[in-house]
């Protein structure tokens, strides 16, 4: 019981982690992308198309996983590029652009689910990506023992471990490398970064696209792993929680790994608590959001510089026109 709870929590945590790692990269460049839920939807579409194509092409498990990731990143990255183009080059309002992308992305996922699925799956009846999903869900370490440790930590699909690896890599890059230093500087004080010879616009574009691409893998993971290839359920809710997780983790992907686990636990816990009515389970669902709101208030109360959102978050930057 506890073992399945923890195991399930870790799996869901991976979805949050992808989204929040991606959003963290974007926010570090000073852009608040509220389009993450939509971008994850795009990633889901791309991932499913990729997985299906690879499967039809007779690829093995590895090929399917690679195709899923590649196409998820491609689709989501394209949306990231669109977001970047609107907010960086066309200087549009970030919130407005983000919300539009969310509307658009969720719409596209729903529309595709209803109609275009036919393009990629030709068999009759209800259409799922069950077959591809089985490859994605297959435990990365093969058959493992029946002990609690294996069940909790070793029984997941490749994408779960990839999420953690990506988060760690991003955390290291942000904290320990010059690239990360530059990105941080752009989010904090783009004028200073510009004066130091950093190509601000280039960095912003790259982080918007890369962040979106990473979040996109999360979308594909939601559909192909969490929902076992069924396309019935929307995934925006997970996207919004991922945005919340960025705040909860204080813009640090390293903390995000723990944070995503906490969120995952809170997310699945209501299903594993016996003896209370469904209505109270709904109340429990508030906790992740409430905690995030609280974190937001507390960090603003203490006003410690290191825990604040990037100073230039949401503030457009243009070098002065001559």
């Amino acid at each position: 019981m506890l073992v399945t709870l923890l195991s399930r929590a870790i799996r869901i945590a991976a979805a949050f982690l992808y989204g929040s790692t991606g959003e963290t990269i974007i926010e570090k460049s000073g852009h608040l992308n509220l389009g993450i839920p939509g971008i994850m939807c795009f990633g889901a579409v791309g991932g499913c198309i990729g997985a299906d194509m690879a499967q039809k092409g007779g690829a093995g498990a590895f090929g399917i996983i690679v195709a899923t990731i590649f196409f998820a990143m491609l689709f989501a990255g394209a949306m990231g590029l669109l977001y970047g183009f609107f907010t960086i080059s066309l200087r549009c309002n970030q919130n407005v652009t983000g919300l539009t992308i969310t509307t658009f992305g969720a719409g596209v996922l729903g529309f595709w689910r209803k109609n275009l699925l036919n393009i990629v799956v030709s068999d009759e009846g209800t259409i799922t990506f069950k077959a591809a999903s089985d490859f994605i869900k297959a435990p990365m370490f093969g058959a493992v023992g029946d002990d609690w440790f294996s069940k909790i930590f070793l029984s997941h699909g490749t994408l779960v471990y990839l999420a953690i690896i990506i988060a760690i890599v991003v955390a290291i890059v942000l904290k320990k490398t010059r690239t990360g230093l530059s990105l941080n500087a752009i989010g904090e004080n783009p004028a200073a970064a510009d004066a130091a010879g950093i190509k601000v616009i280039k960095y912003k574009y790259i982080s918007c696209v890369l962040g979106a691409a990473i979040a996109g893998i999360g979308g594909a993971f939601c559909l192909l792993d969490l929902q076992s290839g069924s396309t019935e359920y929307p995934i925006e809710a997970i996207g919004w929680l991922a945005v919340a997780l960025v705040i909860f983790s204080l813009w640090r992907p390293g903390i995000g790994i723990l944070g995503s686990f906490v969120f995952g636990l809170l997310y699945v816990m209501p299903n594993y608590i016996n003896g209370i009515g469904t209505e109270y389970k709904k109340i429990l669902e508030i906790i992740p959001y409430a905690v995030t709101a609280l974190v937001l208030i507390v960090i603003s109360f203490f006003n410690k510089r290191e825990t604040q959102p990037p100073t230039a978050l949401g503030v457009p930057y243009f070098r002065e026109d001559r």
């Binding site: 320990k176 490398t177 010059r178 904090e188 200073a192 100073t311």
Partner: protein
Amino acid sequence: MKAIELVGITKTFGSIHANQDINLDVEKGEILSLLGENGSGKTTLMNMLSGIYFPDAGHIFVDGKEVLIKSPIDAFKNRIGMVHQHFKLVDIFTAADNIILGEKMPPFSIREKSQELRLQAANEISALGENLDEEAKKKAISKINNKRNLKICALPFVKFGKAVAFNYLPRTRAKRLQAIADQYGFDIDLKKKVYEMSVSEKQTVEIIKVLYRGADKLILDEPTAVLTPQEIQKLFAVMRKMRESGKSIIIITHKLNEVMEISDRVAVLRKGKYIGTVKTSETSEKELTEMMVGEKVDLNIARELPIDPQPRLVVEGLTVRNKDGLHAIEDVSFTVNGGEIFGVAGIAGNGQKELLEGIAGLQPVESGSIIFYNPKENKPVTFFHNDLKQIKKKAEMGMFHYPDGTPVDLKGKSAKEITRLVNEEQILYYENEVIDLNKRTPREIQELGIKLSFVPEDRLHMGLVGNMSIIDNMMLRSYRKGKSIFVNRKKPKALADKIIDDLGVVTPSDMTPVRRLSGGNVQKVLVGREISSSPKVLMSAYPVRGLDVNSSYLIYNLLNEQKARNTAVVYVGEDLDVLIALCDRIMVLCGGKVSAIVDARNVTKEQLGLLMTKMPETVERYDYNVAPQQEETKEEEKNND
């Protein structure tokens, strides 16, 4: 060979010539001062060296070669580094991180590296002592060779490792950078976060940053403006050390004593034009001042003698700190009289802004008093500033009299009756109201009739709302009047139209957003509004900045009108000719302290120039300002008689 040479540099912004045909050169290992009044184009010129602006015409030579500087990166490549007046640092980074920010590691060639290793090994072998016996020698040589071979074998891996390592932030970065800091004698903790730093520390970080990026030509834009005297001495020591190591430095400053102290040569700009370069050892402060301020220009501004000047605003020992916690204004005392124009001279940034904002209640005052003598003598009391209760209380204190001179006693009178008396202006004040402005809110101060029209560099930053129409901007001060929940645009519209007519504001209509007007017209709107409210004290800073000649005269006339209305006018200006021609008395500020308060009718431009550029401690007492303020006022009164 010259480190930097500028030939015929010209830059225009719109119709304004910021720089006109400027020639300038700096030798290696030399400190050049760039001297000039505000708006003489010093910073613009330097920004063209650091890649912020691109010249319209002219040529830049660096180390004898002509170069193009299109961006800060180009400036780095030419080893030019500029320390801007407003620091460009990331607050939450440590000093060390700020210094290495944006640095790119150079790639290296394996062949060169392996040759270097071979050479190193050969040197080590040849360095082996003669007195070693053969066996030991052989052993040592093979050891060195083995080590060399191992290193060469590892090179591809090292390169790969390095490629990562280049991007990797070394943990000991602060320690490594400390070496540079120590070399020039900077006293700084590189692990400290920038937001915890003082201004001088931040400046140090900027200088180290520039040095670290390999600059050997440094431009310092008014580095001393934000420093204490001790810190300035430290900075100068560092600058001398840099000169010794062959670096060229251009320092922009206004302070003549510093120019004389630190620089080898001085280049002077005036109104965008190049005046000349002189050797510091062969010049004097007097000569420099003359170069800087130029010939006296006769402006023909009408100036009447003040009529019945009574103290209106008395400031005693005022001290105000700026945002960085430094004393922007220190122990400043002066009196402004009604019916006179009180000039404030000084290089921009010497506390003028803080002084005015301190009086207007926009900046917290650390110490000192600001007393306002509200000219109420024989004027009727109104409900504008007093409610019924206050009027009763004041009447009890015996502050009022009737028009026939008998004291007012309101005891036993009904509220209705009192209201009638007040509205019929039957209750008059005996004497001026004495009000301490300290600790009053900006709104209260404004409503007392103390108006501040401050024209900052960014005119729309404060005082006007760019996206609002001229009419809406007119009512910024007055919209609260009346009990209606709606704003009344009738009066503001009339006012806007009047200002447009009177001041000749060029605008499509009175509904045009202020943002769309040209700078001069924006200024007219702002000044016009402040004056229209018939203030008792009018503080106006740089009201003619950026205006053409005719508009400037319009403003002068307006100020003179106010003077005739017995308003106390405080005029903060930068053009010395205007100050001398327009004002009655001039207070000179330097470093936030009063250098002197002089009679504008018999002071020369050079005298003012010297006062502006010398810290008060070093000011010799000139003859013309021995007379203390009160005496001066008396003199003026006598004149009036």
